[in-house]
C-alpha cells in the first residue's frame, strides 16, 4: 500500500479518533497513514523540514505563518472539537456556575486556586493564554505560585493536574480518554470561544519535491468527504460526541 | 595463654578437589601443639594446597578438620604467609597494621606496633612506600611482619624466603626461631634443603597430592624411608 506521513498533535491522537479513521482510509484509498504524534511546534517544524507529507494541527496563527512561509500549499479546516475546564470535583473556585470561559478563569484567579498550564506553546496552551488575557489576567498576573506551567503534552499535564488536584484546560477528547482522572471532574464547557478548530495542511511540494503531494491530496479529499463526515460526527466516547465535521465540501 | 589452645588439629581423610580432579588427599594427620614442621615436595605436588587446606582456605570435598575449639575461634589464632605475597593498595605500614586494626586495636597503637615490626624485618625505610611498588624480597618481608604481628598460635608459611637475600634469610630464620621458641606452632613449605635442615623439627614430604612420608627431621634427612623422598633430597628425578 502507499504510505504517507502525517504529523498530528497529542490532543488529536489522544482522542482515539485516529484509530477509527486510519483503518477506513486504508480500506477506501489503499493508503497507510503513518502518524507522528508530537507537540504543535514540533509538528510544524516537521512539516517545514519536509519530513512529513502533511500536518493536522489546531493553532491558527502558527498555521497561517506556515502557509505564509511557503511551507504548505493551503490550509483546510476539517473539524472542531471543544476545550473544557477540568478541576477538583469539589470546585473550590466555583467555576461550574460561571457565565463564560473568561468568567470561569477569573474566578480561578480570584480564588487563587491552583491551575496547571500546558506551558508548551501548543495550540491548547495558546488558546488558554488568550482566555486568560480575555479574563483580564495578564501574563504578569499569572507569574504566581498557584499558576503552574508544566511544559508538557496534554496527557502529562493532565497527570500533573490529577496528581496536584488542580484546575486545567483540556480538549474534550483528551479528557474523556484520560485514564487517571483521580478527583478531577469536567466543570465548565460550552462557551463558543472554547471551540477548537483542526486544520489539514499539506506540505508544499515546490519547496520539498520529494513529498507525496498526490497522496496528501487524496487524503485531503477523503477527509473532506461525506464518508469522513459520517465517521467524525459519529465518533462517540462515553456516549459523547467529540468532533464536529466542518470542512467545506 | 589464658585461652585454651586451638591445637592439636586433627585432620581425617581430607580431600581437596577441583573440577573433579583430586589435588590433595585423602590426608589424615595431626598437628601437635608445638613443633616446627617443614613441608617439602616437588613443584605441583600440593604443598600450597595442603597448607591452605589446614588453614581452612580450601573447601574440603571429603573428610574433616577438627581444632580443639570451634572453627570460628580457631581461625582467629592462625596466620598465613602466602607463596605470592598479597599487597594491599596501601602503604607498607598500613599493610602491616591492617590485621591489628580489623581486630580492634586502636589505629595509633596498631601503627606503632606495625612500625616496630617493619623495623624487625628490615623494612623501616619503606614504611611509607605504597606496598605495591615494593621489590620481591621486600614483599616477602612485609608479609612475614603482617603474619606475625598478631602473635598467632599457629603460623603457616609457604616458601617465605624464595626471594630473600642471604642476610634477610638468616634474619628471617632468627625471627622464626624466636617465634617458635615463644610458643608459636610453625608449618612451613620450602624448597631450600639447607634451610629445612637448619629449621625442621619434623618433615612432611608431599608427593602427588598425598602425604608420602612424615618423619622427624634428622631421620628424614639421614635416612628417608621412601625412594621418592630420597630422590628428592638428592635433587634427582622423582618419578
Amino acid at each position: 500500500a502507499d504510505q504517507m506521513k502525517l504529523a498530528v498533535t497529542t490532543s488529536f491522537h489522544n482522542s482515539g479518533l485516529a484509530e477509527v479513521l486510519l483503518p477506513e482510509i486504508r480500506k477506501d484509498l489503499g493508503l497507510e497513514v503513518q502518524l507522528l504524534v508530537v507537540g504543535t511546534g514540533q509538528a510544524i517544524r516537521l512539516g517545514a523540514s519536509g519530513d512529513v507529507d502533511a500536518i493536522l494541527v489546531h493553532s491558527r496563527k502558527a498555521e497561517e505563518d506556515f502557509i505564509a512561509a511557503g511551507n504548505g500549499t493551503h490550509r483546510t479546516e476539517i473539524m472542531y472539537n471543544d476545550f473544557v475546564l477540568i478541576g477538583p470535583a469539589a470546585d473550590p473556585a466555583g467555576i461550574a456556575s460561571a457565565s463564560s470561559a473568561a468568567d470561569a478563569l477569573g474566578r480561578i484567579a480570584a480564588a487563587q486556586a491552583p491551575f496547571v498550564s500546558r506551558g508548551d506553546d501548543s495550540g491548547t496552551h495558546k488558546k488558554e493564554k488568550s482566555l486568560w488575557d480575555a479574563a483580564g489576567v495578564g501574563a504578569d498576573a499569572r507569574d504566581v505560585a498557584w499558576y503552574k506551567e508544566v511544559g508538557a503534552g496534554m496527557g502529562a499535564a493532565l497527570n500533573t493536574a490529577s496528581g496536584l488536584n488542580t484546575y486545567i484546560l483540556s480538549d474534550r477528547a483528551s479528557w474523556l480518554n484520560f485514564g487517571n482522572k483521580g478527583d478531577l471532574a469536567l466543570l465548565y464547557a460550552g462557551d463558543p470561544v472554547l471551540f477548537n478548530q483542526y486544520a489539514y495542511l499539506p506540505v508544499n511540494p515546490a519547496k520539498h519535491p520529494h513529498v507525496k503531494s498526490d497522496l496528501a491530496a487524496r487524503l485531503e479529499t477523503w477527509l473532506t468527504s461525506d464518508r469522513a463526515k459520517a465517521l467524525i460526527d459519529g465518533y462517540k466516547l462515553n456516549g459523547e460526541t467529540l468532533f464536529t465535521f466542518n470542512a467545506a465540501p | 595463654m589464658v585461652n585454651p589452645s586451638i591445637l592439636p588439629l586433627t585432620v581425617t581423610d581430607a580431600t581437596v578437589r577441583r573440577r573433579g580432579k583430586v589435588l590433595v588427599g585423602p590426608v589424615s594427620l595431626s598437628v601437635s601443639p608445638s613443633g616446627l614442621t617443614i613441608v617439602m615436595g616437588p613443584n605441583g605436588a600440593g604443598k600450597s594446597t595442603l597448607l591452605r587446606l589446614l588453614h581452612g582456605m580450601e573447601r574440603v570435598a571429603r573428610g574433616t578438620l577438627a581444632w580443639q575449639v570451634p572453627e570460628a575461634q580457631a581461625r582467629r589464632r592462625q596466620a598465613f604467609v602466602f607463596q605470592t605475597p598479597i599487597m594491599m593498595r596501601r602503604s607498607a605500614l598500613d599493610n602491616v597494621a591492617y590485621p591489628l586494626i580489623v581486630h580492634g586495636t586502636p589505629r595509633k597503637d596498631a601503627r606503632a606496633r606495625a612500625a616496630t615490626w617493619l623495623d624487625r624485618v628490615g623494612l623501616a625505610d619503606s614504611a611509607t612506600k605504597l606496598a605495591t611498588v615494593l621489590s620481591g624480597g621486600e614483599r616477602q618481608k612485609l608479609a612475614l611482619a603482617r603474619a606475625l604481628i598478631r602473635d598467632p598460635e599457629i603460623l603457616f608459611l609457604d616458601e617465605p624466603c624464595a626471594n630473600l637475600d642471604g642476610r634477610a634469610t638468616r634474619e628471617f630464620e632468627e625471627i622464626l626461631t624466636a617465634a617458635h621458641a615463644g610458643g608459636t606452632r610453625v608449618v612451613m613449605a620450602t624448597h631450600d634443603i639447607g634451610q629445612a635442615r637448619r629449621l625442621a623439627g619434623d618433615v612432611w614430604f608431599v608427593y602427588r597430592g598425598a602425604l608420602h612420608e612424615t618423619a622427624p627431621a634428622d631421620q628424614f634427612f639421614a635416612a628417608p624411608r621412601t625412594r621418592e623422598a630420597a630422590a628428592f633430597i638428592n635433587g634427582d628425578i622423582v618419578e
Binding site: 503513518q34 523540514s49 519536509g50 519530513d51 | -
Partner: protein, 234 residues
C-alpha cells in the same frame, strides 16, 4: 497503587494470549537495541581498550569526556540525529528518518560512550596485570588490544550488557528519530510513553514489566551462554 497490580495482571494476560501487537513491538525493541549494541560494542570495546593501553597527553580529558558523554541527554542525541537525517539535513536524501535504522543510529551514539567507558574501566586492571608481559613480548598496540579484548571478554560482556540495558529502556532519542509510528517504529518504550500520556497506567506498567522481564531474560541468557568458561573465575 492498585494500578501496579493491574499492570502485573495485564502483563500476564498480554503474555499468555501472545498478543500480536505486543510481540511485534517487543521484537522490534530487541532488534533495534541488539543491532545498536552490536555496533556500539564493535566501536566501544576496542576504544575502551585503546584508552587503557595508550598513554597520551589528553588521555585524562578524553576519559572525562567519555564519562560525561555517558550522560548525553537522549533527547539531544535524538535532535541532532534528527537534524542530520531530516529531509533538509545533509543525509536527508537517504530517507532514513522515522525508520528503525534511524533509531539504531541514535542508539549507537548513546551507547558507544557508555560501553567504551565501562570497557575502559574493566580492562584497566587486566592491562595493569598484562602490561609488563605484553610490552616485553614486543607486541604491537593492535595485538595488545586484541589480547585484552579476548582475555577480558567476560568483563567486556558486562559492558555490552550494560549497553543493552541502557538501550532497551531508552525512549527520548528514538521517540524523536523513530516517531513512534504504529506498525513501523513503535517499540516498547515509546509505547509505554504513549500509554502514560493517555493516563493508561496499568497498560504502561504492563509493558514496562514485560520490558524488564525481557531484559532479565537476555542477561540470564548471555550469562548462561558464557558460563562454561567461567567456572574458575566468578
Amino acid at each position: 497503587m492498585n494500578e501496579i497490580l493491574q499492570g502485573l495482571l495485564q502483563a500476564g494476560r498480554l503474555i499468555v494470549t501472545l498478543d500480536s501487537d505486543l510481540i511485534e513491538i517487543s521484537l522490534r525493541s530487541l532488534r533495534v537495541t541488539l543491532s545498536a549494541v552490536v555496533i556500539a560494542s564493535a566501536i566501544g570495546l576496542p576504544l575502551g581498550c585503546w584508552l587503557a593501553v595508550r598513554r597520551f597527553r589528553w588521555r585524562r580529558f578524553v576519559i572525562a569526556t567519555l564519562n560525561a558523554l555517558m550522560g548525553l541527554p537522549p533527547v539531544v542525541v535524538g535532535l541532532i540525529v534528527y537534524l542530520f537525517l531530516s529531509r533538509s539535513g545533509p543525509f536527508g536524501v537517504f530517507g532514513l528518518l522515522f525508520t528503525p535504522t534511524a533509531m539504531i543510529i541514535a542508539q549507537v551514539i548513546i551507547l558507544t560512550p557508555l560501553i567504551a567507558s565501562i570497557a575502559h574501566q574493566a580492562i584497566r586492571e587486566l592491562w595493569a596485570e598484562y602490561h609488563d608481559l605484553l610490552i616485553s613480548l614486543n607486541t604491537t598496540r593492535f595485538q595488545r588490544i586484541a589480547t585484552l579484548l579476548w582475555d577480558g571478554r567476560r568483563a567486556l560482556l558486562t559492558a555490552a550488557l550494560a549497553g543493552f540495558g541502557r538501550g532497551i529502556g531508552e525512549v527520548g532519542a528514538i521517540m524523536i528519530v523513530g516517531g513512534n509510528i504504529d506498525n513501523a517504529t513503535r517499540v516498547l518504550t515509546t509505547a509505554i510513553a504513549l500509554e502514560t500520556g493517555k493516563g493508561n497506567f496499568a497498560l504502561a506498567l504492563a509493558l514496562g514489566f514485560i520490558l524488564i522481564g525481557l531484559a532479565v531474560l537476555v542477561n540470564l541468557g548471555v550469562h548462561s551462554l558464557s558460563r562454561t568458561e567461567v567456572s574458575d573465575r566468578w
